[in-house]
């Protein structure tokens, strides 16, 4: 009898690159956690939490004077900022293939709206223009990228059939734009929702939007007033599709500039001084440009700044980002069944939707602010805030995606369905969403620095507060490089794992 050909099964399972990558990220987060400060420093967090919960169920809408005007201002800042950003982004998307344009867009979107606002605050003071530009500039960078990708990936067979001699403008508006218009419109309206969140948060640094009153209410412990403001904000976002009609957009954009309020007058000499004196590194300002000593001083100046501030800031930013990224992923995987048809009936799904909408509509800055009040300054409030906000966003997207999975009629139920049928099928998409969010989470860790958590943003904020604008600019530049690096790394990993390159609005 001939020997049976050897076909023995391997004795150990082999893991896919996707699983290995995930395990690697979880292990990295565990290491980061060992170095992170996650202590609770407040004396009685439960008492404060009880007071907040009581405030949440007894909202007081009468407490804020001129509530209507506050809401209108919040909308007006979002409208002006997003409109300006979208138009600039659209123009930039037409020349996005040029290297310098791509780099400029990547740099401006690496800086969070709040930091743009802090920068313009130095130049323009508390003028409405500060708020509008703070939203418009980073949004222009984001829109340029997304619009350019949309236009590039569209199938445009009509371009081939145009008569010879058709002008560029006519070709663009007839053969190129119409079929991608829907995507551009949808993305811009999603951006407007983000703009409302940005506009509200800008109030925390003094602009006359919702955040301004929220900050006051919180710091005075007036939680019923804070609850009223938050509920108003949720209503604003939940009813967006009823009042943000395509036909009315033009009208809204026209009247919005008149609702921004007057604010402080812009002082031209401030702008000039900011650009020509304040942001020039101190050693260059003080010494002659030709003296060797000046350049040695500049070397010492950057060296000290790098070692004492940039490096510790980068370490904290990295720790926080990696922990928050993994917790976000875990939360998203835990939350998505709440809105999935595969797991729950309409009642639970509706509640799940409300829960996720509230979490993702609450700006992460406000979540962090609340948890900071509860637990005191450590990385814990930041981790929880970032993970809840981003976990709800990704959970929502994965939940929707899971509804498209087609199951065999005799598929298992409950936890078996979750583990064997659904998660393996949505995992690739989930990772794509999560890696898209990586750069966003890092950008957001920076703004939590404003709240006192020692990320890069903390050192930028401190330098701005000390009016050492040269240091602030240096640290912001470090922040940009760091962000762009994470963005490239994320793109590289997505490519290696063959994850969808366009995960939509994650």
């Amino acid at each position: 009898m001939a020997a049976v050909p050897s076909n023995a099964a391997p004795t150990t399972p082999r893991y896919s690159p996707v699983v290995k990558t995930s395990v690697g990220f979880v292990a990295a987060a565990a290491v980061c956690l060992a170095f992170a400060d996650i202590s609770i420093t407040t004396l009685d967090p439960w008492l404060e939490m009880k007071r907040m919960a009581w405030g949440a169920v007894t909202p007081d809408f009468g407490a804020v004077a001129g509530l209507g005007m506050v809401v209108l201002r919040t909308i007006a800042f979002a409208l002006c900022g997003v409109a300006l950003g979208a138009v600039a982004g659209f123009l930039l998307s037409q020349i996005f293939h040029l290297g310098p344009v791509r780099w400029m867009c990547a740099s401006v979107r690496a800086i969070h709206e709040l930091f743009w606002a802090l920068i313009f605050l130095q130049m323009l003071g508390l003028s409405p223009l500060t708020g509008v530009l703070a939203i418009a500039i980073p949004y222009a960078g984001i829109c340029a990228k997304v619009y350019a990708e949309t236009l590039e990936e569209a199938q445009l067979p009509a371009l081939r059939t145009l008569p010879k001699g058709t002008g560029i403008l006519s070709a663009f508006f007839f053969a190129r734009l119409p079929d991608v218009w829907v995507h551009i419109k949808n993305y811009t309206s999603y951006r407007f929702e983000c703009g409302l969140r940005s506009s509200a948060v800008l109030g925390f640094i003094g602009l006359p939007t919702l955040g301004f009153h929220l900050e006051t209410a919180f710091s005075e412990g007036n939680y019923s007033e804070a609850a009223a403001l938050m509920i108003l904000f949720y209503l604003l976002i939940a009813t967006l599709r009823y009042w943000m009609r395509p036909k009315l957009v033009g009208f809204y954009v026209l009247i919005a500039p008149f609702l921004l309020g007057s604010g402080a007058a812009i002082n031209m000499s401030n702008i000039v001084r900011f650009l020509t004196v304040d942001i020039v590194p101190a050693p260059l300002r003080e010494g002659g440009l030709l003296a060797g000593q000046t350049w040695r001083n500049l070397g010492d100046w950057s060296g000290t700044l790098l070692m004492d501030q940039a490096l510790p800031g980068m370490v904290a930013t990295l720790l926080l980002t990696q922990i928050a990224l993994v917790v976000t992923g875990v939360l998203a995987l835990a939350l998505f069944p709440l809105i999935s048809e595969k797991f729950f009936g309409p009642v639970v799904r509706t509640l799940g939707h409300v829960f996720l909408v509230v979490l993702r509509s609450t700006p992460e800055f406000i979540l962090a602010y609340v948890f900071l009040q509860l637990w005191g300054p450590s990385m814990l409030p930041a981790i929880v805030a970032l993970s809840l906000h981003n976990g709800a966003i990704i959970g929502h997207l994965v939940g929707r995606f899971s509804d498209e999975v087609r199951l065999r009629p005799d598929s298992p139920r409950g936890i078996n369905l979750y583990g064997f049928e659904i998660v393996p099928r949505v995992y690739g998409q989930f990772l794509a969403f999560l890696f898209y969010r990586w750069e966003v989470i890092m950008r957001e860790t920076a703004i939590l620095g404003i709240l006192g958590i020692a990320t890069l943003g903390f050192f930028v904020d401190s330098a701005l507060a000390d009016i050492r604008l040269d240091r602030a600019m240096f640290l912001i530049a470090v922040m940009v490089v760091f962000n762009v690096a994470v963005d490239s790394l994320s793109r590289y990993i997505r490519g290696r794992l063959h994850l969808s390159t366009r995960a939509g609005q994650a």
């Binding site: 009509a158 145009l162 007839f174 079929d179």
Partner: protein, 217 residues
């Protein structure tokens, strides 16, 4: 002489589909390109279109429509080169009565009258094909090049379409899969097989059985 190719290799990205092609087409000819699918008819058509400097209208196999624009707008695109950008944009947003009056008879002749303001994406395959033909008719020019423009039409419609094309264009070059229709309509038959022109003769000198060898292995 409208089109001329002499001893050329034609193809995409350096891999020739057609070898050593010599061909001239004069004004007034109605040429039918026949041969198996994949023989290289589309390649030949797109080379002729790209080489010719004057104005030719193109009806590609994929009708090349903008799905979200109406039939009116898709047909109007055949006249983009005649107007200023401002006038074109005006018509994009708010179609002028004069342009509607110009386009309506063309569309009605091909049975699309009711669909004038429907988005092209909502039409059937045959209706989309006829929309592309209307666009070519409005565009006009020295010649029309069509890649299977009547593939989704029945016999009656096909004749109406070919008649409409003949009324507009003096010179017509069409890839066709219906051999009988090709013989009936054209003045000259070009058969392609094995990467070469295997037959080139006046239509009246060719019978159906003369073309059978093009479709045999």
């Amino acid at each position: 002489m409208l089109f001329r190719l002499s001893n050329e290799n034609l193809g995409y990205d350096g891999t020739p589909v057609l070898r050593d092609i010599s061909l001239t087409v004069s004004a007034g000819e109605r040429v039918a390109l026949v041969g198996e699918s994949g023989a290289g008819k589309s390649t030949l058509l797109s080379v002729l279109q790209n080489r010719y400097d004057g104005n030719t209208a193109l009806i590609p196999q994929d009708p090349g429509l903008v799905r979200s624009l109406s039939v009116f707008h898709n047909v109007y695109m055949g006249s983009l080169h005649r107007h200023s950008a401002a006038y074109n944009l005006l018509n994009l947003v708010w179609p002028r009565q004069s342009e509607i009056a110009r386009i309506r008879p063309i569309v009605e002749r091909l049975g699309l009258g009711e669909k004038l303001f429907e988005p092209a994406g909502a039409l059937s395959g045959g209706q989309q094909q006829r929309t592309a033909i209307c666009r070519a008719i409005l565009q006009g020019g020295d010649a029309v090049l069509g890649d299977e423009p009547v593939s989704a039409a029945d016999n009656h419609q096909s004749r109406a379409i070919l008649a409409a094309l003949s009324d507009t264009f003096k010179t017509i070059i069409l890839a066709m899969h219906d051999v009988d229709l090709a013989l009936e309509f054209s003045t000259r038959i070009i058969g392609i097989k094995g990467g070469c022109i295997a037959l080139d003769a006046p239509a009246h000198a060719v019978t159906r059985s003369d073309l059978d060898f093009l479709y045999r292995d």
